[in-house]
């Protein structure tokens, strides 16, 4: 190999996969390079809670032997990836003192599927506490840092997944997304994140936050990589009651196809009132780019952010409160203060309030499905604010009583539609910006097609943080 460590680290998953398939790179070589890079850089980034050095090298040697013997398993064979620490696989802390010593007896379905596809699992990645509580420097676990500026939050809750992939410490990572926890860190770290359709990727063995809003999916540096990783983990799982028994298409099938005539709708009413000006400017340039590529872009009707928050946030908080009730009674002080308050707030949601929220939610889903008869995709900013500095202490009450957290991702958790966050620029302060594309249920292929067309035209994926 004539590549430097950084060059190897920043090859795309697809490029590494090609080299492995052609035996121009060995799984052991690339896994060792990743482990060395984690050792060199992660003391500053804190993206990993656990590194499976010995297990990863053992799996890499096995992959090398299989490939040499002609038993090539496909594009993920020998590719090093990492897993958010709410997926059952070895030590699984959920970023909480309550689970600091918990070790899973078995791998969850998604990890099993990735391993069956030949992936090398490097380790477990940092998460906001139970995929919800904002971390601070006072938290039980060190918060992950943003590779673009280590004083800044990498977004969450899949914070370690965003940081590790952006920093070249894995070629892809699994995240989870209940209200934006794949797409927000993807936005903050200038990577790609796919929240697949509800039921598309198994949630079995993934610690629940909200049973009816939880989604899982991959985070990578390019759209093609995301499609390859989703291919490995998508599919029906009888262990997940919400799993969809739908055929799994070839997610790379339409990459490189043009988007001439593709109909894209912009739900401006959702974000115009509270979106940061720099984010809005980058988003509008991306919209222009899509038009230049041949898409037919039009504005479409939408609920407001305030309306969305009014039924999304109580739903999530009540579900989380129900799951955590026993520990809230017995060990409330083992939660970080912000999460303790959020869970207590969830326990105040009334039964009628919860059910009315579910009625409005289904109403919205039907209305947006109707819109998807006239358009192919929705396009909108991922969030309306840039991430801030990691706080030293909890900002108690920040979340629970206000609706100023202008994140535009939950609309696709409440509807279950597939949604992808794609980088689309940087702020004047050097922080990443991204936008979302969302499509019809189980049509991730079209979402990837449009995301890839933009990505290749814009070229933001070529930029990496200086570390």
């Amino acid at each position: 190999m004539a590549q430097t460590s950084a060059q190897l680290a920043y090859l795309s998953l697809a490029e590494v996969s090609n080299l492995l398939a052609k035996r121009e790179l060995s799984p052991v070589e690339v896994t060792q390079a990743m482990l060395d890079r984690i050792t060199a850089l992660d003391s500053r980034l804190h993206s990993y809670y656990t590194v499976f050095s010995a297990e990863a090298l053992r799996a890499a040697r096995e992959a090398e032997a299989q490939i040499k013997a002609g038993k090539y398993l496909g594009p993920m064979h020998g590719v090093p990836v990492a897993i958010k620490d709410i997926y059952e696989s070895g030590p699984t802390t959920c970023g909480s003192k309550l689970r600091k010593d918990y070790v899973a007896k078995d791998d969850c379905t998604s990890v099993k599927k990735l391993k069956q596809a030949g992936s090398i699992v490097l380790g477990k990645l940092a998460t906001y506490e139970f995929a919800l509580g904002l971390p601070t420097l006072a938290s039980h676990f060190q918060p992950a840092r943003n590779p673009w500026n280590t004083d800044i939050d990498p977004g969450g809750s899949s914070s370690g997944s965003g940081a590790a992939v952006a920093a070249g410490l894995a070629y892809g990572a699994m995240g989870s997304d209940t209200g934006g926890s794949i797409r927000w860190p993807a936005f903050c770290c200038s990577i790609v994140g796919m929240k697949a359709t509800y039921g598309r990727v198994s949630r079995a063995g993934v610690f629940p936050l909200s049973w009816n809003l939880d989604h899982t999916g991959p985070m990578t540096r390019t759209v093609r990589d995301c499609a390859l990783m989703l291919q490995a983990c998508a599919g029906y799982d009888p262990l997940d009651p919400a799993s969809a028994n739908e055929p799994v298409p070839d997610y790379s099938a339409k990459l490189g196809h043009d988007i001439k005539g593709m109909r894209i709708g912009i739900p401006r009413n959702l974000f115009m009132a509270n979106c940061d000006k720099e984010i809005l400017a980058s988003f509008e340039k991306a919209v222009t780019q899509m038009s230049t590529l041949g898409a037919k872009v039009t504005d479409v009707e939408s609920i407001s952010f305030g309306d969305l928050w009014a039924f999304f946030w109580p739903t999530l908080a009540a579900d989380a409160a129900a799951y955590h009730l026993e520990d809230m009674k017995k060990r409330p002080n083992d939660y970080n203060p912000d999460l303790r308050l959020t869970l207590a707030m969830g326990s105040l949601v009334s039964a009628t309030g919860y059910l009315q929220a579910q009625r409005v939610r289904d109403q919205l889903r039907r209305e947006m499905l109707k819109q998807l008869e006239a358009i192919d995709l929705f396009m909108l900013p991922t969030t309306g604010f840039l991430p801030g500095r990691i706080r030293a202490q909890p900002a108690e009450g920040m979340f629970i009583s206000e609706e100023n957290f202008s994140i535009y991702t939950p609309i696709f958790n409440v509807t279950g539609f597939p949604a992808l966050s794609v980088p689309c620029g940087f702020s004047a302060s050097g922080l990443p910006i991204g936008f979302q594309l969302a499509g019809k249920p189980f049509d991730e292929t079209t979402v990837f097609q449009a995301g890839y067309a933009y990505e290749q035209a814009a070229g933001w994926y070529k930029q990496h943080p200086a570390l």
Binding site: N212, A310, P314, M328, L341, A344, G353, V360, D362, R365
Partner: protein
């Protein structure tokens, strides 16, 4: 409505103990929940059913 009283009674019924400062913050949150319920009520269409409806499935 005295939000603080509602919060105190509800948490006591569930067996959750929190500090006085946290109860004050939750009283504000309870006011927000009431406001959000009003917003949701205005959005509702009479024929809507909740997304939690079960669908009978024939096994085997």
């Amino acid at each position: 409505m005295d939000h603080k009283q509602v919060v105190t009674e509800r948490l006591a019924a569930l067996g959750i103990s929190l500090s006085a400062q946290e109860i004050d913050l939750l009283a504000k949150a309870h006011a927000s929940l009431q406001k959000w319920e009003t917003i949701v009520q205005k959005m509702l269409q009479p024929e809507s059913e909740p997304a939690v409806t079960f669908h009978a499935k024939v096994e085997g």
